[in-house]
Symmetry: C2
Subunit: 387 residues, 2 copies
Amino acid sequence: MQVNSELQQLNGNYLFTEIVRRTQAYQAQHPEAKVLRLGVGDVTRPLPLTIIDAMHRAVEEMAHAKTFRGYGPEAGYGWLKQCIIEHDYRPRGVELTPEEVFISDGAGSDLGNLSELFDRANSVAILDPAYPAYVDTSRMAGRKIQYLPCVAENGFVPELPKEQADIIYLCYPNNPTGAVLTREQLRLWVEYARSHHSIIIFDAAYESFIEEKDIPHTIYEIEGAKEVAIEVCSYSKSAGFTAVRCGWTVVPKQTGLQAMWMRRQCTKFNGTSYIAQRAAEATYTPAGKAGLQANLTHYKNTAKLLLKGLSTMGYEVYGGKNAPYIWCRVPKGYDSWSFFDHLLERCQVVCTPGVGFGPAGEGFVRFSAFSNREDVEEALKRMEHIK
Amino acid sequence: MQVNSELQQLNGNYLFTEIVRRTQAYQAQHPEAKVLRLGVGDVTRPLPLTIIDAMHRAVEEMAHAKTFRGYGPEAGYGWLKQCIIEHDYRPRGVELTPEEVFISDGAGSDLGNLSELFDRANSVAILDPAYPAYVDTSRMAGRKIQYLPCVAENGFVPELPKEQADIIYLCYPNNPTGAVLTREQLRLWVEYARSHHSIIIFDAAYESFIEEKDIPHTIYEIEGAKEVAIEVCSYSKSAGFTAVRCGWTVVPKQTGLQAMWMRRQCTKFNGTSYIAQRAAEATYTPAGKAGLQANLTHYKNTAKLLLKGLSTMGYEVYGGKNAPYIWCRVPKGYDSWSFFDHLLERCQVVCTPGVGFGPAGEGFVRFSAFSNREDVEEALKRMEHIK
């Protein structure tokens, strides 16, 4: 047996694992310290009652022979697909069929597994910096990667690829920079993909943080996108489902990939937890929507607080407006990891080193707004103290 | 962009999808018919109260800021790993570390994704007949497949591979034949793998149906297996979790693959639903164990009833003793699919065509014991009528 050498050659330290390791090491040496975690993009607000109730009902169904359920459809229940079609796409002028919507246990799995749809010889274009899984997944598949630098000079909006890009990963609102694309800017990418026979994998996990008007919520708002784009979405950030686990992926028939993805999922995935699907369904009720809006408003206010606080202290900051992330340039004399260590040791504040998202992220750290107000206020106070 | 041609070339009709299609077509034409489903291996008994309670508690935790949880560890919570180590392995003389146990959303995902650990040039040996995902997954990876016929003449225990097999998929108790391996028989496979530098992927999903003494419950009961075997298990059949979604995979350090699998999971999987993990934990409580035992006894009795009923009618039947499946030779003049259609049309009974599991399954159908007693009794009555 020969191992997959591409997988074997990957660096063992996954970014977030390394952050956890350093934080735990610090906490072990300073058991009394109150460490404030503004690093990993994980939600903290409890779920609205109507979603809790929906899960209780689903659990209760499993207790009685008449309502007990076994395997659901591999690609998800029709009632949840219908909610997504009617609430997430139709209001934006996008029509989808249930066969084009695939329910999953979250965007993480889909973003990784979609790679299987393509020949390994395909070239990949990835934003730099970017969510590490795009790069790691492409490396595991042995693909040639072209990095598209997103820097302050281009407003974190990269130029179109210089070399042929067969597969393009885009994430907007962006993790980690918090940048967004206008309709016109996204149109350029759809046009590139159409003229270069590329496929765009569009990660829309932070869509619910968009506040400004001209920012598309789905790539299918752009004409012609259905032929060249797969869109990956999740309830993790919009509804606080990082522990519940539910998301979805749209593979339009026009891509020619819908049947292949169905075949892949039917073979290697046995469906999403029924309880998670009922929870997702409840996010579309009026009470569910109101509850989630309240949580989103909280996170958006936290983002504004962070943005203002850091900016007032003189830090050069980006994002935080249509996204839950603030991208912050580190002070002179530091790089991403040394500033991470500095904040951890001097302020007991955990951020995310920008270089962990790619070489162009060097010299930045990411702050996450998925925290409670008190922690953010306390973190800002401590940081002011060391300025 | 070029598609993955191996995936594209796969036959579009996944076995169970085709069964559903034919059954729905029949039901649409005969809306009054009471169709009895003895086909797909899906559980039907409600979950024990103690597991329901554990899920309600986990759901309730998500409603309050103090107990709310976000992302869990990608490979699962330590408390669940500890339960598995202490209850599923230690009593059988097998010691594992938490790092070797990976919690997942079910065996289906792991059996598919484990394929990524290996170089695509590796050859594969697969039982014929077998659960279709082994073949489909290997074909998607472009691997050369060697089939190992399991027929009545060899007691459905195949001979060792004639050509080099780098990856070997074994499933015991077997789906679909219901065959089991004795300790001595399994030892031969471990020895083969050790001397041929092969890796065994051991699917133990039906372990809880073993009743006879000399049948190993885990491949690690065999000396030296830790160096050459990955074991995939699931709560789906033992605990009725096909809708809840939870399973686990053991990748011993001695295989040299543990760190690679961790890297794969951290990159392409964001962890198993917290609620599902708490449900799994509850299966190890005394009340949980008793409740599951009651369900297992029900299914085992159903298996015995089917075995006796079919045998009395003169069918040549196998399995059903340490497994929930009965493997039944079709009468002369039929093949697997024509007998499937015959039973559906004349008795409104759904079975699974044996040929769907591989060419050596032609001439057989599989009956599943995951049904309620009344349905099985009624199905047997109807079948007697057409003899």
